[in-house]
C-alpha cells in the first residue's frame, strides 16, 4: 500500500469530528445487515472477521454472505430471551468517527431506543419497502422527536424485493412525511437502499437511476451537526470545585463543569444561581493553558473575579438570560422499570449536577406511542410507557425546556430503595 495513503489517514485523523447515531427498525427490517454493510463497505471490518462470517453463512446455508452475523451477539440473546440492551459500536472514515447506539427492536424497545437516542445526533429509521410505514415506524419517529434527535434518515430497505421501483419509495416517503408533520422533527431525509446488496449504502446504486440523492454513508459523513448544541443560552452547571491547597495555587478556586449551553468568554458578566450573585469570568483555565472561550460540550474550569460561595449543583448563567427556577415541573416521562410509576410516590432525581427528591403529583395522560392517542382514563405508567406527569421537587430546579436544551432539560428518576434508574424525564416548556 502506498505510504501516502497511510499518511493521509493519520493526518486526517486529527481533524475528524464525531457523530453519534442510533438505529431503529422492527425485527427483520434489516438493521443488523445494514450496520454490517456500513462497516463492511467502509472497510472497518477486517479480513479474519469476514472469513468467520463467510463460514458461518455457508454453514447456515445462506445464499449471500450474511452481514447481520457481525452483530450477532445481540441476536443470540434475543433468541434466548436474555437481556436486550443497547450495544455501542464504532467505525470511522477519514471524515468522521461514528458511535452507533444499536438498539434492538422488540419488547424493551422503548426503553432501549430512549436510552440510545438520549445522546444521539441522528437516527436512522428503517422501513421495509414491502411493508411500508407501519405502526412501529410511527413509534420510532415519535421517540426520535420526543428525544429531540435533530436529524432523521428514513432508509427504505429491501428495495431489491420491490424491483427497485420509484413508486414504492415515493409512497413511503409521502406516508412518513404525513405522519411526521404531526411531530417536532425538522430534518428528515429519505434514502432507498438494499442493505443486503449494498445499493446506496456506501456506493451509489446502479439499480435506481431515478434516485438523485446522496448515499447513506455520504450523508452520515457530511450532515451538518455542529449547530445541534444550544450556543445561545449560557448554562454552566458547577460539577466540582477545584481547590489545589498548594503554595503555588494558594488562592485558586476553580469551578469545573461541562458547558451545557452558550459561549463563555473571559470577562463575561455572569450570575450564579440560586444565590443570584453576579460577578465576572476571570479566566477559563485548563491543563493546556488558558482558553479564550468555552462552548458545549467542553469540560472546563472557570475562575471568577469575586469570592462567592459556590458549590456543586449551582448554575452559572448570564444575568439577562437565565433559566427558569421552580419546584413544580411538568415532564414527559419514559418509564424504564418493571415496577410501575407510583402517583404520590417519592423518587430521587438527578438533574445536571444536582441531586434532589421529588413527589409525583399527577399523571396527566399516557401516550399510545403508535397512534399518538392520549389516554385520559388509563393513567398507569409501567415499563416502556410514556406519559405526561407533574412533579414537585424538594428544592428549586434551574431548568430549561428539553426542546431548548437537552442538558438542562433532562432528568433521571431513581428508586430510593433499589437505587435503580427507573425513569427518564424531559421537561416541558410550560414548567
Amino acid at each position: 500500500m502506498a505510504n501516502s495513503d497511510v499518511k493521509e489517514i493519520t493526518e486526517n485523523y486529527l481533524n475528524m469530528d464525531l457523530l453519534r447515531f442510533t438505529t431503529a427498525g422492527s425485527v427483520d427490517d434489516g438493521k443488523s445487515t445494514l450496520i454490517g454493510r456500513l462497516m463492511f463497505d467502509s472497510k472497518s471490518i477486517f479480513e479474519d472477521q469476514m472469513e468467520a462470517i463467510e463460514q458461518s453463512s455457508k454453514r447456515r446455508g445462506d445464499e449471500n454472505v450474511n452481514l447481520a452475523l457481525l452483530t450477532d451477539g445481540l441476536k443470540a440473546e434475543r433468541e434466548q430471551g436474555i437481556t436486550i440492551d443497547v450495544a455501542y459500536r464504532y467505525f470511522a472514515t477519514p471524515k468522521r468517527k461514528f458511535i452507533i447506539a444499536d438498539t434492538p427492536g422488540h419488547i424493551q424497545y422503548t426503553r432501549n431506543m430512549v436510552t440510545g437516542a438520549s445522546t444521539a445526533n441522528l437516527a436512522i429509521i428503517l422501513v421495509d419497502a414491502r411493508k411500508g410505514v407501519i405502526e412501529q415506524t410511527c413509534r420510532h419517529a415519535f421517540i426520535a422527536s420526543l428525544l429531540q434527535i435533530k436529524h432523521i434518515i428514513v432508509c427504505v430497505n429491501k428495495m431489491d424485493l420491490v424491483e427497485y421501483k420509484e413508486e414504492v419509495f415515493e409512497k413511503i416517503k409521502h406516508d412518513f412525511t404525513e405522519f411526521s408533520s404531526k411531530l417536532d422533527i425538522n430534518d428528515v431525509r429519505y434514502i432507498p437502499i438494499s442493505a443486503l446488496h449494498g445499493d446506496n449504502v456506501v456506493d451509489k446504486s446502479k439499480n435506481m437511476d431515478w434516485y438523485q440523492g446522496a448515499t447513506l454513508l455520504y450523508t452520515l459523513e457530511n450532515i451538518q451537526i455542529n449547530s445541534d448544541y444550544n450556543f445561545i443560552d449560557t448554562r454552566f452547571p458547577v460539577q466540582y470545585v477545584i481547590r489545589p491547597m498548594s503554595d503555588k495555587w494558594h488562592d485558586f478556586r476553580g469551578y469545573a463543569g461541562r458547558v451545557e449551553g452558550g459561549v463563555i468568554k473571559k470577562g463575561d458578566e455572569v450570575i450564579v444561581l440560586p444565590s443570584g450573585f453576579t460577578t465576572k469570568v476571570k479566566a477559563i483555565d485548563s491543563f493546556d493553558g488558558e482558553l479564550d472561550e468555552a462552548h458545549p460540550p467542553m469540560a472546563v474550569t472557570l475562575t471568577l473575579e469575586d469570592e462567592i460561595d459556590i458549590s456543586r449543583g449551582d448554575l452559572i448563567a448570564k444575568p439577562n438570560n437565565q433559566p427558569k427556577v421552580g419546584q413544580d415541573i411538568e415532564l414527559m416521562i419514559c418509564w424504564l422499570n418493571q415496577k410501575k410509576l407510583a402517583v404520590g410516590g417519592k423518587y430521587a432525581i438527578k438533574h445536571t449536577t444536582n441531586d434532589m427528591r421529588c413527589i409525583i403529583k399527577e399523571v396527566k395522560y399516557k401516550m399510545n406511542i403508535n397512534t399518538l392517542h392520549r389516554y385520559q382514563d388509563d393513567k398507569e405508567i409501567g415499563l416502556n410507557d410514556i406519559g405526561r406527569i407533574l412533579i414537585r421537587t424538594t428544592k428549586p430546579l434551574m431548568h430549561d425546556p428539553y426542546n431548548r436544551n437537552r442538558g438542562t432539560g433532562s432528568i433521571i428518576m431513581i428508586d430510593e430503595f433499589t437505587n435503580e434508574t427507573v425513569g427518564a424525564g424531559m421537561i416541558l416548556p410550560g414548567s
Binding site: T10, T115, Q239
Partner: protein, 301 residues
C-alpha cells in the same frame, strides 16, 4: 455558529474528564486502577486534566503480579512521582502466600486470573467505592454493552442483566453499603483513538512498546520474552529478534510482535496500514505481524 466545533478527540477527552469529575463528586473513595498499559497511562493524563491545577484527588493502585516487565515497574514508579499521585501497590504473591489464591501450574504460569482476587481484596481492605479502569467497548463483543458507571454487588460481581440504563450525561452512582462501581472513562475510545491521543499529547510510554532487540522463545504462536518465570521445554531455544509489545501484561503470557516501529508515529502507521490494507480489500503479503494482531484485538465487534 459553525466555528464552535470540536474534533472527535477533543470530544472524547471532554467526555472522559466529565466522568472523572463526576466520580470525584459522587463517591467518597475512588481509586484509579493503574495497570501500566497504554490505556491506563491515558487515564492518568485525563485525570490530571480533570483536576488541574490540583493534584489527582485519589490514589493510583497497581496490582503487581510479580511477573511484570522491569521496564513497566520502572515507568510506573517514575510516572507516579512525576504526577504527584499516591501509588498503592498490592501483590498477587501475598494473596498466594495467604492461601487466598492458587498459582497456576505449567511452563509459563499466568497470574492473570488470580489478579482479580487480589484486586477485590484490596478494594475491600481499603474501602474504595469506585475504581477507574481503562477498558474500552470496542475491545470485544461482550463489552459493547458495558456502562460508564458499572455497578458491582457486594461480592464485586457484575450482573449484565441488572445494569442501570444510562441516559444523557446523568450518571447514577447510588449504591448500598458494601457495593462499589467500576468506572470506564474511555469506554467510547477505539485503539486508534488511544494511539492518536498519545501522539497528540506527547505522552511517554514504557520503552517496551517500541521496537527493541530481545531474546524470545516461540510458544503457541507467541513470542515470549526470556525471563525467570519461563521454563524452556524440549526443543525450544531462545532467539534474538527485533520486537515490540502491543500490550503490557505478565512476562509469562504477553506475546511480542516482530516490528520495527520505533516511535508512536510508526505505531500509528502500523495500525493504520492494517486498516488500509483491508480497506482496499487487497491481499497484502507485506502485512506485518503487528498489523495482523491489531486486527484480532481490534475485532470491531
Amino acid at each position: 455558529m459553525s466555528s464552535y466545533t470540536l474534533t472527535h478527540l477533543e470530544q472524547l477527552e471532554a467526555e472522559a474528564i466529565f466522568i472523572f469529575r463526576e466520580v470525584a463528586a459522587q463517591f467518597e473513595k475512588p481509586v484509579l486502577l493503574f495497570s501500566g498499559g497504554k490505556d491506563s497511562i491515558c487515564l492518568v493524563r485525563l485525570a490530571q486534566k480533570a483536576f488541574w491545577p490540583a493534584k489527582i484527588p485519589f490514589p493510583l493502585m497497581h496490582i503487581d503480579t510479580g511477573h511484570n516487565f522491569p521496564e513497566a515497574i520502572e515507568y510506573r514508579d517514575s510516572m507516579a512521582k512525576e504526577v504527584g499521585a499516591e501509588l498503592i501497590v498490592r501483590y498477587v504473591q501475598d494473596s498466594i502466600d495467604k492461601g487466598k489464591a492458587q498459582e497456576e501450574k505449567g511452563p509459563n504460569p499466568s497470574r492473570n486470573a488470580i489478579q482479580s482476587i487480589t484486586l477485590l481484596d484490596s478494594i475491600e481492605e481499603l474501602k474504595f467505592d469506585a475504581a477507574f479502569g481503562g477498558a474500552r467497548r470496542d475491545e470485544e463483543k461482550a463489552r459493547a454493552k458495558e456502562r460508564f458507571f458499572s455497578h458491582r454487588d457486594d461480592f464485586g460481581q457484575w450482573d449484565p442483566k441488572n445494569q442501570r440504563p444510562e441516559l444523557w450525561n446523568l450518571f447514577n452512582g447510588r449504591k448500598h453499603v458494601g457495593e462499589h462501581f467500576r468506572v470506564f472513562p474511555i469506554s467510547n475510545w477505539t485503539e486508534m483513538d488511544v494511539w492518536q491521543y498519545i501522539a497528540q499529547e506527547k505522552i511517554d510510554l514504557p520503552s517496551i512498546y517500541f521496537s527493541h532487540k530481545r531474546e524470545v522463545v516461540e510458544r503457541d504462536n507467541m513470542l515470549l520474552a526470556k525471563s525467570d518465570f519461563i521454563t524452556l521445554m524440549k526443543g525450544e531455544t531462545y532467539e534474538e529478534k527485533i520486537i515490540r509489545y502491543r500490550t503490557l501484561g505478565d512476562m509469562t503470557c504477553t506475546g511480542a510482535v516482530e516490528s520495527k516501529a520505533a516511535d508512536v508515529q510508526d505505531i500509528i502507521q502500523e495500525v493504520a496500514s492494517a486498516r488500509i490494507t483491508e480497506r482496499g480489500g487487497r491481499a497484502d503479503d507485506k502485512r506485518s505481524e503487528a498489523a495482523m494482531e491489531e486486527r484480532k484485538i481490534q475485532g470491531y465487534f
